[in-house]
Symmetry: C2
Subunit: 485 residues, 2 copies
């Protein structure tokens, strides 16, 4: 008996014995009323220390799995797990329309999967090798020494106060007028956008965006049953006339804009465009939701203020920020800065969704930002990513037959091919040769962009770019020849 008990590393032996015995009871191998061997017998039988067995027996009794009869030993309690009627529901037929749409729009479930040895340009995630792990550890030790259990208990829906204050200062340093505004900490940009839309847009309402735009934003608009009005984004920026026309004629609740290092094109909206865009939205009294995406990854050129700053004392810009794009995506930390009446409502929605964002993570991010580690990291990361971005532009220009290569910064570039070419067909062919990227149509509001694709460069070396881009270029050339043949 008990011959099949096996110990594994890294977990106390008494726990393993306890769990083993529980399983024996739950599966009926040990029956109610049965006497367990004495601790001494058990210890000898399994070659364990007697204290280990005593501890396991005590826990089992504490949890109601056994009862001790003084002088007689431990007996298995009545822990019968008698299965009732076995009920099989067809869950796939019980899903809501929302759930089905979420599955259908979940590209992780449909896209081509990376396999070992492939070169992937799909992701725009940052390079984990650059992460300042030593500084992060120090931030943990410093903050934890100060706060201890406090940051492990419930916090506030709005956020960890020192972080809120820090972010307020941080935005002030970008020229933002803080009066009348407030900040809400969120689980990353994605939750931030969901909360803002839950707050201001009913199903059926219109959202105007740049076309193309961030594919996750498009997914969220669709899942919230919003009407998407895309306004073409050219190399000169968003088409202001079409923007005005859309605002004048469509029931638009808000605009969604990515002024800096736009996803997927990598464009930076010029200061003149920013002011012009603000004027147009102001004219129609429509608020702007600004995605502060990768704003920190400025490689060259003068400082450009976010729309939130340019709006001055106005309250018509809702800014969604995130450090997670370049810093710690795994922590899922973002924030919304907007008019305080709006933030108060979003705070209540946030509370109903998940109470608050991890206070531990917020406290660690705060400490990390406060002690200057972020600026140190940013200086290093900018240098590396700038070199990578320059290499990407240079290599893509040389190796990939293109109509236009887009990108002024960030962790990606965008390739526009001759109109007759189809990026999904090219992707399928590249995949067979071990190269992956994001087809551009995912970013379009109107089914366009078939001849475009995005190349994420955050996690690839220059050598991988050279190899990968060469393959992409060769595949495109083959398709071009075919079309011309």
């Amino acid at each position: 008996m008990f011959a099949d008990f096996k110990c594994q590393d890294g977990r106390p032996v008494y726990l393993q014995l306890k769990e083993y015995l529980k399983k024996q009871m739950l599966s009926g191998i040990l029956q109610p009323g049965e006497r367990l061997p004495s601790t001494r017998e058990m210890a000898t039988a399994l070659g364990l220390g007697r204290n280990t067995v005593i501890q396991a027996y005590q826990d089992l009794e504490e949890e109601g799995f056994t009862q001790t009869v003084p002088g007689q030993g431990s007996f298995v309690a009545a822990v019968e797990v008698r299965y009732g009627t076995i009920t099989e529901l067809a869950w796939d037929q019980r899903l809501t329309a929302h759930a089905k749409a979420a599955v259908d729009l979940d590209i992780e479930k449909s896209e081509l999967k990376w396999e070992r040895g492939m070169i992937s340009f799909k992701s725009i995630a940052p390079d984990g090798a650059l992460f300042p792990t030593a500084d992060f550890k120090r931030a943990f030790l410093d903050r934890f020494a100060l706060e201890e259990g406090k940051i492990l208990n419930y916090g506030y829906a709005q956020g960890y106060r020192p972080l809120l204050e820090y972010l307020g200062e941080y935005l002030k340093n970008k020229g933002v007028e803080p009066e009348g505004k407030a900040i809400l900490v969120t689980n990353g940009f994605t939750e931030g956008l969901n909360l803002v839309l839950a707050g201001i847009a009913e199903p059926g309402d219109g959202i105007v965006t740049e076309n193309p735009t961030h594919n996750t934003a498009l997914k969220i608009f669709k899942l919230r049953d919003l009407q998407i009005y895309g306004v073409p984004l050219t190399e000169k920026g968003i088409d202001l006339e079409l923007l005005a026309e859309t605002l004048a004629t469509k029931p638009v609740k808000a605009g969604f804009l990515i002024p800096s290092y736009h996803n997927p094109t990598g464009l930076v909206m010029s200061p003149e465009s920013r002011r012009a865009v603000l004027e147009v939205f102001a004219r129609y009294q429509v608020p702007i939701v600004e995605d502060g995406f990768n704003e920190e990854l400025r490689y060259s050129g003068a400082h450009v203020a976010p729309l939130l700053a340019l709006a001055g004392k106005g309250n018509n810009v809702v800014y969604i920020g995130s450090f997670s794009k370049i810093l710690f995506p795994g922590l899922r930390l973002g924030w919304v800065m907007a008019d305080r009446d709006l933030i108060a409502a979003l705070e209540s929605i946030k509370r109903s969704m998940n109470i608050h964002t991890s206070f531990l993570d917020q406290a660690l991010l705060y400490e990390y930002l406060k002690n200057g580690s972020f600026e140190k990291y940013l200086r290093r990361a900018r240098k590396v990513y700038r070199a990578r971005h320059e290499a990407a532009i240079r290599l893509a220009t040389a190796l990939i037959p293109h109509r236009r290569i887009w990108g002024e910064g960030g962790l990606h570039i965008f390739v526009e091919l001759a109109p007759k070419l189809n990026a999904r067909q090219i992707l399928a062919a590249c995949y067979r040769r071990g190269v992956l990227f994001m087809p551009g149509d995912l970013f379009y509001t109107d089914g366009g962009g078939a001849n475009t694709f995005r190349l994420g460069i955050g996690r690839v070396s220059e050598a991988e770019m050279a190899t990968g881009f060469k393959i992409i270029g060769e595949v495109i050339s083959e398709f071009e020849e075919e079309k011309n043949a």
Copy 2:
């Protein structure tokens, strides 16, 4: 000039200087084209080291705020923040019906606020003083040494794999049949319930619950526009006949049940009741959403298997678990275990909501659970909370005139008064004497429970209970005399 520059502790001086100068530029005190003092002049003027000033100047240039002219110095760049039209939107008139409901149902916005010196029995949060901070720190150091940057980068929507495996084993140890089931990690119970409902219940659908039940669950049902059917919960358990009648006659999509240490009554559903409830739901082919709330806080009696275990190979129970009620609420970690087809859909919804739950937090929780710290903590916490719970029952019975005191475990007890008494009036009077609790009507589905209230005891000492309960008792006696007068 620069006489108002002041340094604060805890943040590198060069950063403070940089931010100070940025503000001067953004506010127009320093004008574009203006020459900054040389690093030597600035260092002397402010009493700083020259390297500090050099570092600040370099950063300013890097970020596009200044330009260096060789041999001439640093000049302020054109970082004009010219405010455009100032647009004032009336955000309170732009909120969705959902946002307004979230604010209205947000008790944090309406309830009486704790003030220093008061005794509060509102919260059922655990006692931070019991938190195993040393063990948590060790878990951080061990896991971080192993994973480093990996747990700071993007992870998977379903969860951190080692944690998913651990939870699978954990549930198996409660007798759960794992085949055909899967687990999804969530931001606590609240997000878990939201995801499940988003997956299976359309607006207008019915949910059957115990009456009373968890107030947060009720809030979520209301915010999702669900129809709530409450079935009375008496000291003998849920009324099975009324439950069957509701299932037979109402368009019910799912049941929501809290079988262990029910919130607010503290009741534990007996094994017989559990089987009977499962049979009733099986008969009508309606799934059960089981709240595994505080299941670990069993103070006495035999082990009771969760409904998920009793359902055996059936797939009709959706279990929402959380360690956060007693362990680390601040980390917001919970999970859903259910049929794997359902979990696959919930995973896509989760991804659309916030990508995934903090991988750092998941990795830390895993390490903490794996190395046996949780069991150690649980043993200590159970001892303390059991004593506190026994004291609460004893003191409430002695000091509070009652019709019934409810509670078999957990971090709260529930008090039922004579039907003519109103707990909100009593709360208002107690508040004036410095005592707070949760009025019971919050937990009722039908506007009932006016003569009930919940006393949370997780964070109060026996002495505070004695003082607080005495005041509550005196106030109730005064109301009783008034009614009888």
